[in-house]
Amino acid sequence: MADFLQFTVSGLAAGSLYAIVALGLVLLYRGTRVLNFAHGAFGALGAYVFWNLYPAHVPLLVAFVVGVAAGAVAGVATERLVARPLASASILIVVVATLAVDEIIRFFLVQTWGANPRTVPPLATRPTLIFGSIVIPAQRLLIFGVSLALSLLLAVFLRRTLIGVAIRASAEDLTAVRLHGFSGSAMTMFVWGASAALSAVAGILVSPLLGLTPAFMTLVLIRAFAGALVGGLTSLGGAMAGGLLIGVLESHIQSLTSYHGAVEAALFGVVLAVLLLRPEGLFGTKETEPPSAFQRQRRFVLRLPIPAGVRRRARLLPVLIGGLALAAVWSSGNYYAFVGGVAVTYATVGVSMYLLSGLAGQLSLGHGALMGVGGFGAGLLATRADVPYPLALLVAGGAAAVAAMAIGLPSFRIRGLYLAVTTLVFGIAAERFLFRLNLVSGYARGLELPAMSVHSGLAWSVVVLGVAVAAAVRVSGSKPGRAMEVLHHDEILAQSWGIAVSRYKLLAFGLSGFLAGLAGVTYATLLGHVTSEAFSAELAITLVAMAIVGGLGSLTGVIAGSLLFAVLPELLRGALQWLPLAYSGTFLLVILFLPGGLAQLWEPTL
């Protein structure tokens, strides 16, 4: 009983921290309908600035103010440079854009202060509260107190001040608020700044417990996301409660098991259960139509001047170029065959994204995990059961299809952003828990695949890409593809046209998962030895980013984007630390200037 209380109390302290991070997320979401994945990075930036000023150079309070201000400035800059130009872009693009910002900030932190973890002293050492057998260290008490004070302050601000009320109202109807004489632009900027400042406070407070690394806030952010979703993305009180709940849950799970990834797996379960039973969260309200953001018409569309005659005759040109490139890669030795194989594999995942997101309009940030299901599945079949490769390929693809349909099930009830976050959490849970099970990979040792020459690996990946392209062409030109297009556009219309929306969503998830699974098998084959890191949540994000860069609505586009991302590391050989910046920078530049992706350059209708 004392243990139970002790774990609950420590959980509440951690939870209060998740709560203020979640509060920032929800504040921003309510004000702008953006779910910000760079939120944690703002906090990390604030903490780094703080600890580089204090205690060596300036007093605590000054360092605190400067640190929080640094976070807020990063938030406002993100609003100006990224979120505002993308106001009318699709949810998936905005989500990946904030992920790219996160990547860029972390890159900046590594470049400036190094990647090595650094321990920092607690900000408070006294008083340690002791009630009987329950001990509350001062740092945790401080976290609890500051979090509570900040949330009360925010609540009063939003209810009692004019601008606070305007911000709350703008969640309902931004246009109406602007018609009452408020500057929508200034409010949006304020919300971004305030939200980022909250994260910076959290970052500074938690750094003594977690240590300072460029990614230390990621852990906090995932839990805050879970809290915000559980409590309800539209409810500030809900975010608080959700954060506390997640903190207590985590503390108790850690008391029960030290199994790696158990917390992440539990978070996935809780988020999934809440979203399925009550999609608006425990304390949230059902969202009606999202408020209209600033819609800005693009004045010009950059496009290659290809004459219509050439365009018609150039149908087979991509195949020709692909064939020539393949021949060159094939004959240039093992290294390039490997690179080519990876590029072709990425292209297959691109095609799978095209089916799911481009055609059916469903979002997935869990494709890395689906590849993993394929890769580990085929590996286990080949090593444990001696199944021949082609059969293992098919079975593993089927397993990935089933997994994809399972993560697609929530799409019957939840849409857009919620679905994206659910699939992301699934990816994280798969990486940290499923793929590290002893049964799957012998904990973190990984799985050895039967040896195969690089050229055979390349050949198989080309075969798989061929299957994927054929399937995509077939689907997009027939009944199921059209049904997906209609439900992508308008689910009500789809139903009134007799389309079984749920069935076609499942079909899209299943097909996409099957192709991702096949790609996972060839990827694992090329690598030879796979660990859970090979199929990380970050891979999933890169996969989505490259598909968006190419142009989700175009088959040639997603393939071009995948090839570009596969080749980038080769161009940066010798300077690989720049790769994250190259990926994120390419992504941001492309979506800001070519909203339809690279495909916009040659596709006439995008």
């Binding site: 689907v475 009944k479 556009h489 139903q495 009134s496 046209w497 007799g498 929306v501 079909l507």
Partner: protein
């Protein structure tokens, strides 16, 4: 195929959107549904097509109870509706929309199509779409994206999408909304054509009483979620309850009593 609505009630929170509404459209007939804004006309369409939950009562097609059936299965039975603001896939072409709209009448299954079946049917679908476009005079715009069409042309495309599905029961929700007079008259002619060619059972909502008069010999009048009158135009014109509770002011009354079929179409 006849349509029966029996004692249907729909509640939105504390609001009775429909109170024990009953109506009957005999097979092949056209019935007009009129009533002031907020009377529950579109809600009734939503109840018939399955987009709102019915609190009590039944909806039947040819005596088959479809009350709890999901909307897409009702569409599969031949129940077809249009929307006030042309329901179309705006980023697809006109022809694309007419092809997509035939989903419900295709025999090939979704998975079978992925595996390469049903190529013959694909050609039939395309031919039907082109035929419908020619009939509506839209063939020159076949490859135009719907988004760049005028509202009037879009309403016509939506009508094409409804017709190409071989509807057995047609629910038209304000077909003339946003159209000018010339466009409305053109639409009335086309609707009459469609009705006489296909003989489908039709329920039409419109505020343009001339259009309704041209199409529907029978009327149902809704007000505050209740049917306040049913009958022919003469019955309605002389119904004191309609005059008092709904039509009220003189100008509308005049239009109703002088609206002759010859002027509409």
């Amino acid at each position: 195929m006849k349509l029966d609505v029996a004692d249907v009630s729909v509640r939105f929170g504390g609001l009775d959107a429909l109170k024990t509404v009953s109506l009957h459209v005999p097979s092949g007939e056209v019935v007009g549904l009129i009533g002031p804004n907020g009377a529950g006309k579109t809600t009734l369409f939503n109840a018939i097509s399955g987009f709102v939950r019915v609190e009590s009562g039944r909806v039947e097609l040819d005596e088959r109870d479809i009350t709890g059936m999901p909307p897409y299965r009702r569409a599969g039975l031949g129940l077809t509706r249009t929307f006030q603001h042309a329901g179309l896939v705006s980023n697809a072409t006109v022809l694309g929309n007419l092809v997509m709209a035939q989903h419900a009448i295709m025999r090939t299954g979704g998975l079978a199509a992925v595996l390469g079946r049903g190529r013959q049917e694909e050609r039939e679908v395309l031919e039907r779409a082109m035929a419908a476009l020619r009939q509506l005079g839209l063939d020159s715009e076949a490859t135009t994206p719907v988004a760049v069409l005028s509202h009037g042309r879009r309403k016509l495309v939506e009508l094409g999408c409804a017709v190409v599905r071989r509807p057995r029961v047609l629910l038209l929700d304000e077909p003339s909304a946003g159209l000018d007079r010339v466009e409305t008259e053109d639409l009335a002619r086309r609707l009459l054509d469609i009705q006489s060619n296909t003989g489908c059972t039709t329920l039409v909502i419109d505020h343009d009483l001339r259009l309704v008069r041209a199409l529907a010999p029978q009327l149902v009048v809704l007000s505050f979620g209740e049917v306040i009158a049913t009958g022919t135009w003469d019955d309605i014109r002389t119904n004191q309850r309609v005059l008092d509770a709904y039509l009220g002011p003189q100008p509308v009354n005049e239009e109703l009593s002088s609206g002759a079929p010859s002027r509409a179409g």
